[in-house]
């Protein structure tokens, strides 16, 4: 079952790349969000997918069962999700201000001087 999710990741990255290569700055942000979705899924997949029960220690037990999913990738994804959120929020406001001060959403109109 990995192969289908691997393809999903590939498609998400491809979509991200394609959007990042567009001239519109809005698509640029969309592309970045795609990138971070793809990366989160990838990190999540890095743990093995063979075990599927949520990683909790059952009431009355002291040790989690061996069948629980690898909790570490989950924690990593959580962290990167939150970080991604912060950066996306900032980037969104940045493009808004960018548009406000330059009056365009077309990236090609902005050559460096």
């Amino acid at each position: 079952m990995e192969i289908i999710l691997a393809i999903v990741i590939g498609v998400l990255y491809a979509a991200g790349v394609y959007l990042l290569l567009r001239r519109s700055i809005v698509k640029l942000i969309l592309g970045l969000i795609f990138f971070s979705h793809a990366t989160n899924l990838l990190v999540f997949l890095a743990g093995s997918l063979s075990k599927v029960s949520p990683p909790f220690v059952q009431e009355g037990q002291k040790v989690a069962q061996a069948s629980v999913a690898d909790p570490l990738p989950q924690a990593l994804v959580l962290t990167s999700l939150v970080i991604g959120f912060g950066i996306t929020a900032f980037a969104l406001v940045l493009i808004y201000r960018f548009y406000q001060s330059s009056g365009t959403v077309d990236f090609d109109q902005l050559k460096e001087d």
Binding site: P54, F56, L78, V82, G86, A89, V93
Partner: protein, 141 residues
Amino acid sequence: MSNPYSNIFRIAATKLRPLLFILSLIVLYRGHQQPGGGFIGGLMAASAYILYALAFNSAEARRKLPLSTSALLGTGLAVILVSGLLSVLAGEPFMTGMWTTLHLPFGQELHLGTPVLFDAGVYLAVIGVLLTIMFDIIDIE
């Protein structure tokens, strides 16, 4: 925002605010044992105020806050830092978990530790963060 829905929205926002707030505290506390935790809790608490700000305006919502947004950020960060430094005072490495059990009346036991405090810091900081971002963006209008 003078459409007929706005009144309903305002009432809902007002009523939901304490509810969401209490819920968020529960989510925060349970986080160590059940799904939840500081980030999710903080998000819920913040959404209470965000709804309020959308229904009224951000200035009104700010007034309802016990602390300013930047003080929330600062407090959150300070709590995180303190939870890590407590173990240093005890001569243990930074961020070592320290646990104690409080005996409440009615036979209840409250298991408290620095990691929980840490999560509370995250909770506060997340509220501060989300409110700063959302209030400012709402102010654009």
